[in-house]
Each structure stands twice: as C-alpha cells, then as structure tokens.
Amino acid sequence: MAFAAPNVILIILFTYRPLITNIYFSTLDWTLGAASATSVGLGNYVEFFSSPDAANVLGVTAIFTVTTVGGARALGLLVALALNQKLKGRTFARAVVFAPYVLSGVGVGLVWLFIFDPTYGALSWFLRSLGQISPQWVNDPKLALVMIIVVYIWKNLGYCAVVYLAGLQSIPPQLMEAASLDGATSFRRFRTIVVPLLSPTTFFLLITSLLSSLQAFDIIRIMTPSGNGTSTLIFDSYVQAFGSYNRAGYSAAISVVLFAGLLIMTAVQLRFVERKVHYS
C-alpha cells in the first residue's frame, strides 16, 4: 500500500479530482471566468439532450468514431500484411508508415489544410491541371467531415499497422505451413488462422482506437476551427466553454456525457466483445 501511495496520490490529484470537479461544474450555470454561478441540478443535461444540436453532435461523433476506428484498423491490417512480406526496403517502409503517428496533430492539420485548400492547395493544383475545380473541403460541412476523417485515419494507420505487424509475427509459421500443405488457399488461411489469432490484437486496437477517436481534438480544431460539420462531443464541449458561448457548466455536462459514453463502451467491450477473442 505504502509502495503504491505516491502513484495513487498523483492519480487521485490529477485524474479523479478533476473528474469529480467537472461533474460538480456540470450542475452549475456558470459563465467561464465569472466568480459566481447558479446551481441548476441536471438542467445542463436536460438542455443538451433536448437541444436541436445534440442529435447532430452525437451523429457526427458516431460517424467520426466508427469510420476512423474501422478505417484505421482495416487499412492498418492491409499495410501490416504488406509489410510482413519479405520485400526490399521493408524496414524503411515500416518507419515511414509509423511516422505520421508520432507527428504533432497541429502540424499534421496545418499541412493537410494546405493540401486541401481549394485556392492554393496541392490538391486543387492537381485538379486544376486535370481541368477540374476543387471541392470546397472546408466550407461544405459534409466534405469537411470527410476531410478530417481522411487525415485522422492517415495519422493513426501507422499505429494500427505496427501493432498488427507484431501480432502477425507472433503467429506460429508452422500453422500456416500445415494449412498450406492441407491445400488451404491464402484467403482461407487468412480467414481461418490469421484473423482468429489476431483477435487479441484487434480487441486491443478496438479499445485504444475507440478511446483515442472519441477524444480526437487537435486535427479538428486546426482544420475546421468553427466545427462546421465536424463538431464532435469533445469539440462541442470546447466550443461551449472556450468559444464565444462561455458556458463552462454546460460544457462540463457535455464532457460528462462523453465520459459516461466511454465508460459504457469500454465496459461493454470488456464484458461481451472480449468473449470472442482467442488468446491461444
């Protein structure tokens, strides 16, 4: 107990205390910066769930999360399968694929914003050379969501690829050889050996990617500062407190909704999805 105390104290101070404080703030009608506030009980939650924006924010959060978690894992697996082959320059390719994951989200957002810019962007230049006009990536809310999904997948695909690669390399080669000798096609081997044996990796990536996607902020903030079409729960929480609304209590309530969502999803995954994971 004494050995764990320093860590426990730090966790209590910097994780649980802000969490509890935030729950308390969510019960207040509090303008950011003001010295006083009014207690409103569950009023902020009622207002959020009955506001016309709630459906949109929850919808955008769901689309962003499902596509980025699914996209990064699917593409990451494909890249891992490619990088698992004995190819020339494989080590260099592995480093290149992983690089975006360690780059700053702000830097990534700025570079991709330049690429997508319909006036001076690299993509618009390419499209113009083909006689086409660049779509309004930032102005059109639907395209703005597509844009940040593409960038977020690009940034996180390396992480999934490297984790999957580690998973692929831990599959005993004898199993694959035996299956080949029995006449199994490569697709059959993938479906019946690789996918089941990768299930712990897939499960691990599901949890970590889901948590990370639901908390994605930097790229959204840089590429679409107004949240036009890209307002996820965490971004809406930021805008409500630090944008011109200044509603710190309401923002805290949105954060609690996000926290509850994360908690429920993680619990459901541990309780139900993990049952389908093959650890050996």
Binding site: Y24, G33, S36, D117, N228
Partner: protein, 454 residues
C-alpha cells in the same frame, strides 16, 4: 514494516479518499451570488502608488507585435519605475479571451487585455474587468480625448469599461487590373446592385487566368461572417437585431441574405473563402472582397511586391440605404478586476499612453487601424499611404454593430452557423433565419436578460 491490506480494506480506504476528495473538489465559483457583477469598492486613487510591474496580454492585432513593443518602450521611458511585460495571448481575439477567462481561476491575471467588440461586454457582465471612469480621471485623461463614436462603444451601466485601441472598419478591396480588364470603372461600387451588374463581366474577363475563381469572395465564415454581412443586411434595410429585438427573420433581412445566396448559387459570380478572403485577393484568385482595415498595410505591401494594383473603397450600400452601412470593429483595452489597485493604476497609465494622439497614429501607420484619439495627426500617414483616407472618411459614417452579434454570448457563432447554411449548404433562407431568431432569443432570455441592469 509493512502492513498487508485486503482487497476490501484497500477499496474502503480508496472510497474514503475519493469521498473526501469529492467534498474538497467542489471548489470553483461561488453559488451564493455574493461575488458577481460590478466591483463596488471605491478607491481613492490619489493615495495609490502605481505598481512597478504590470502585464499586457495581446493578440498583436494587425501584426502589430513590433509596434506594441515600441510603444511599451516609450511608456517605460516616460515612466521609468513601471515595467510592462507583453504577453502573446493567442493569434486572435478569441484565443486571448480564452486565456484571460481561464486565468480567472488562478491568482495571476493579466492587468491589461486586448478585448474585441464581442468580448468586453461579457467581461463587464461577469465582473472580470473594471469600470475605468475614476481611473481615467486619476491619470488626467478625459473620455472626450477619444473619438466620440469609438469610446461610446464601451459604455454600459453608466460606466466606461474600455478605451478604444485597435479599431477598424471593413473596407472594400478590389483588384484594379481585373476591373480594367472587364472595362468597368476602377473604383469601389456605390451599391451592391451596381457591383452585381459589373460582376459577370469581371468574372468573364478574368476567368482564363490560372487559379481564378470569383468576381467577389465573401470572407471565410469561420472568421467574422456576422460582422461583414451586417453591411448587406443594413443596405437592404434589415439587420441581425434592433437593440435586443431580434430582427434576423424580418422581410428585409431575408431579402438581403437571399441576395447573398443568389450571388453564390444562382448568379455564380461570388464564392466564400475557405480561410482568408484577403489572401485570396492577394493571390489573384478573386477580384474583390471585404476585409478589415487592419489588413490595409499588409495588403498594399503584398500588392506592391506582386506588381498588382489594389484599390480600396467604402463598403457598397443597398437598395434601402447607402449610408451608414459600415460596422465598426476591432478592439479596446480593458483592465482586470482581479489585481491590486496599484497595478490597476499603472494599467490605467499604460492604456492611456497606448491610445494617446501620438501612439494611436503610430499604430495606424503600421497597420491601418483607425486613429482613436481626436488629436491624432495623421497627415504623415496620408502622404505615405493615400488609401488610409478611406479608413478615416468611412469612420465618420459607421454604425454601431447589432447587439445580436456583439452582446449575446455565442451570438456570432450562431450567426456564422446560419450563414454557413445559407451560403454553403443552399438552405432555405427564410426558414434558416426563423430558426436563428429563435436561438438568439433563447440566448438573450436565458443568459443576458437576467444579468442586465435595469
């Protein structure tokens, strides 16, 4: 010697700790209503000695960091016992506001802060800034030293809350070469109807230029769409609001924004910038736009380097009104409440120095912001930059912005959302503005009306 804890005991200890924490964590704002609103304590400023050091948080509007440093240097020369620390609070007014407001949770707040037209009122209502009437008297400065229309913008509850600093108006910027190629007069149009006649010709004459997009580019909505659109609304006799009465869905307002939508969708001579309309103009991608006068110096410099002829003019009028159709904008300087009287007095000396006749002229010359002091001598600026005359002349025919944009928390954000629907998503104008009215009225009723002094 260590003691073994069972799982049950550990959970009990952790639970008790969290319980204690829960009680301790419930700090934050007071909920008994005791500390809100205007500071009541009166101070005899004649007995206060100015502090030796104060801080100034700025976004360096109009790329003015070097100018601000020069002005601080001149202040320190005039007041050798006071040091001013310049803090970069962010790239724009919103980022400064974010830092200033979050600093209220701690004990160290900046003494002087740049506050835009949208922010000062919220600070005043939440009690984070000080009314400065007595402080101005204490440093022998009268509000009549300032341009009347600019200093009166910061009046609320019979008090003065800020002095004007980097004050701007939007200007009509246009590419003279593009206008010449189209055979239209090389000047800003008097009305939007006139520009609508020119625009198809301008677009047709320049469309073969590489990367050319539109005859006119509306400013990026993520910027200050609600600010510049007031020009079109007022010209057509509409507006976002008349004082606290929301008029966004009036017949004139709907007509004005329908015209905006038609210019983009039906007539297709206008577009909306993704990032910054003035850089689109500088890149030759568009022939005209509206942008802040704070962009004047940098735009003219960029045009000179690119061998491009850029002109500026008054904002065009509309069918109902040709003047005044130009909103004021920009920022003032406010003094934080949560500091000592010594620092507040030093802050008052500093803000009046930054905005005196000589220093406002220095800032205007470096940026394009309007001079805020009545006594400012701008003859040197005019001889160097004749286009600056447009800023000065237009300042005389400006109109105070609609309350819906400046005084409603989140008002500008809601205006931008409605503008996005109308301009980018081709939504029904009337329905969008009706929804907007409902949203703005709800904000007023819930967040503003209860806090207004009668």
């Amino acid at each position: 010697m260590s003691k073994e804890y069972s799982r049950k005991q550990f959970l009990a200890v952790a639970g008790a700790s969290l319980g204690t924490l829960a009680v301790a964590a419930c700090a934050g704002p007071s909920t008994d209503g005791s500390s809100a609103g205007k500071p009541s304590a009166s101070v005899d400023w004649s007995k206060i000695k100015p502090a030796a050091s104060i801080s100034f948080m700025s976004s360096h509007p109009g790329k003015s960091r070097d100018t601000e440093l020069k002005l601080i240097e001149s202040f320190q020369k005039a007041h050798p016992n006071i040091t001013v620390n310049l803090i970069t609070g962010g790239a724009n007014y919103e980022e400064v506001a974010q830092k200033f407001q979050t600093s209220q949770a701690g004990n160290e707040v900046p003494d002087v802060v740049v506050a835009s037209d949208v922010w000062w009122f919220r600070y005043a209502v939440s009690g984070t800034i000080l009314p400065i009437d007595d402080l101005l008297k204490a440093v022998n400065v009268s509000s009549s030293d300032y341009v009347a229309g600019l200093i009166s913008d910061y009046k609320y509850d019979d008090s003065q809350w800020a002095v004007p600093y980097a004050r701007s108006t939007p200007l009509f910027y246009f590419n003279k070469d593009h206008f010449k190629a189209a055979g239209v007069p090389e000047q800003a149009p008097k009305t939007w109807a006139e520009f609508a006649e020119w625009a198809p010709r301008i677009k047709a004459a320049n469309t073969s230029s590489p990367g050319y997009q539109n005859a006119y580019q509306y400013p990026a909505i993520a910027g200050y769409a609600g600010w510049t659109l007031q020009n079109v609304l007022w010209g057509q006799g509409g507006g976002w609001s008349k004082e606290w009465d929301i008029t966004a869905d009036s017949e004139a307002s709907v007509r004005a924004l329908q015209w905006v939508q038609d210019s983009i969708v039906k007539d297709a001579w206008a577009g909306v910038s993704s990032k910054n309309a003035i850089t689109d103009l500088q890149a030759g991608a568009v022939s005209a736009t509206i942008s802040s006068s704070a962009d004047l110096a940098t735009t003219l410099k960029a045009a000179k380097e690119a061998n491009m002829r850029i002109g500026v003019g008054f904002l065009p009028g509309g069918s109902a009104s040709q003047s005044p159709v130009c909103p004021t904008g920009g920022s003032g300087l406010v003094i934080a409440t949560k500091t000592s009287p010594e620092r507040q007095l030093a802050a008052a000396m500093f803000i009046t120095h930054m905005t005196n006749a000589q220093n406002t002229a220095t800032l205007s010359a470096a940026t394009g912001y309007a001079p805020v002091s009545e006594a400012a001598d701008i003859s040197a600026i005019l001889s160097q930059t004749p286009e600056f005359a447009t800023v000065v002349d237009q300042l005389k025919v400006t109109r105070t912005q609609d309350f819906a944009r400046t005084f409603l928390p989140g008002g500008d954000q809601e205006l931008a959302k409605a503008a996005t629907r109308i301009m980018n998503e081709k939504a029904d104008v009337k329905a969008t503005l009706t929804d907007l009215k409902g949203t703005l009225e709800a904000i007023y009723t819930k967040d503003v009306k209860p806090k207004l002094k009668s």
